[in-house]
Symmetry: C3
Subunit: 208 residues, 3 copies
């Protein structure tokens, strides 16, 4: 297991993803008129849940335990949700931001898995898990029907970003292409995000 320094781009994607997901978790608690403690719990679970499972699975130190700020960011998002009207965090704009977090997390999760020497298929799954699992835990604990049970193009968007990240990085390494990783990550992020945006706009779903 070769420890690796992930670049600043990934770090930025990470913070954005955490904050958006933490907000979405806190808002769900706020909608059900929960207390601040519950909102903090949901902000944390939704913000770091997916990355936590990923780190445990690939054998990395859990990112928000070693980092002194991540948990504080999640609790700050809960504070923001507590002091602002819930309606501010609903509607299409927030769904789009959530789609951005989803794609960012999928790219980050896959790239980190590859950096830890995980083979391609599990590495793609690590990206999907990083993007989707926080929301699934949130829904299961809140007793809501989880996104995984709906035909929406949500998990699929994460899968697209993760698959492009992994196949791009693997091919670049095999063929020794002079393609910087940042380009692959950008393309992977945009593909997943656009697919999710299109799905939100025209309410696209998968066949069942």
């Amino acid at each position: 297991m070769n420890e690796t320094i992930l670049t600043p781009i990934l770090d930025l994607l990470d913070v954005i993803g955490i904050a958006i997901f933490a907000l979405s978790g806190a808002v769900i608690a706020a909608r059900e008129r929960q207390t601040f403690v519950t909102m903090g719990f949901f902000a944390l679970v939704t913000g770091v849940g997916g990355g936590t499972i990923r780190d445990l699975l690939i054998g990395a130190p859990v990112f928000w335990i070693t980092d002194p700020w991540v948990a504080a960011i999640c609790l700050a998002c809960a504070l923001i949700a507590w002091f602002t009207p819930v309606t501010l965090w609903q509607g299409k704009l927030f769904d789009l931001a959530d789609g951005g977090g989803l794609a960012a997390y999928a790219v980050l999760g896959s790239a980190k898995a590859i950096a830890y020497g995980v083979p391609p298929v599990p590495a793609i799954l690590m990206g999907i898990i990083t993007g989707c699992v926080g929301g699934i835990i949130r829904d299961v604990v809140a007793g809501r029907p989880s996104i995984i049970m709906q035909p929406e193009l949500y998990v699929t968007a994460a899968a697209l970003s993760a698959a492009i990240t992994v196949s791009g990085m693997t091919l670049t390494q095999w063929l020794a292409l002079p393609l910087p990783d940042a380009w692959i990550w950008g393309a992977a992020f945009l593909s997943g995000f656009i697919l999710r945006a299109v799905a939100i706009q025209w309410r696209l779903g998968l066949p069942s």
Copy 2:
């Protein structure tokens, strides 16, 4: 923590268990007319869920992250469930196959825990967890009443296989008996499987 090479018998039990459980997960998603993405998710969670928890608990590298094929087998099972009629995977025959996977996983989980130096009582629990937890996570995420809440002889069958494996291997080592591990595993597998088969045939349950 002494890494050990588990024998080919355990490897075969492992693949059979994964495939049967993955199928059962995918079929539950198919029954509720879910998309392929959801079926893949359930195939994976059900197929590798129990073994994942076991590996995290005993401090082993998670088996399907280091192995490039296990995750692909689960997704292949989801594909099979997608392209075949659901009715093919229902009824007593499939329940029996599921019982076989349960007993196989219970033996495998206990044997692996012992190989990692886990004491007897936790080692038995590792066998039970390996056999049952994938299905429990599947049911919780799908919002179904979980097998653990029903009087059926299901967890009990896993407990029987795990207890025979652990007591057999521990006694053999203490008394320095010339009994090969494969015999113990075979006896443990058959005991759990037969108990489960009898329970399916005559709808036996535990007293409450």
Copy 3:
């Protein structure tokens, strides 16, 4: 990650917390007229669930896997619940005992996290998780509304104990005060326990 010897006080808090939580888990299964196997499962999940998540997150060996007795204590609690009338384990007295387990676990979880070099904010969260997560998993698997979704002062009591533990130990170290850890733990335990007891007596809740 510097392994540390936690003192006998923490060990005692630990066993008390495990036994109380294991009983509460087994009793919930008993109320729903479940079998002994299900009661054992709930005793185990509730008794060791929070500490398991904590150990996985901070990278410690999972405590009940290396210790041969903890799992046996949980199963013994399930036996006790099986052979005694359920009504014995209901009412205010048992709620108080549960509050004691909650505060004890919160102190223990935070202290262990600090011993493993976890920064303050995550260390407080480790205390909360150790105290509350076993009960949350129990409720989610049983399909009951979880304590985290109710305005009761429950998670808040754990948060108080954890915050006092972490701030006390951190300040003592920074300012090189001659204050023994046992005093901090005692004060932290009492604060959380009294807050919980007051909340039970006068049915206090947080504003939503």
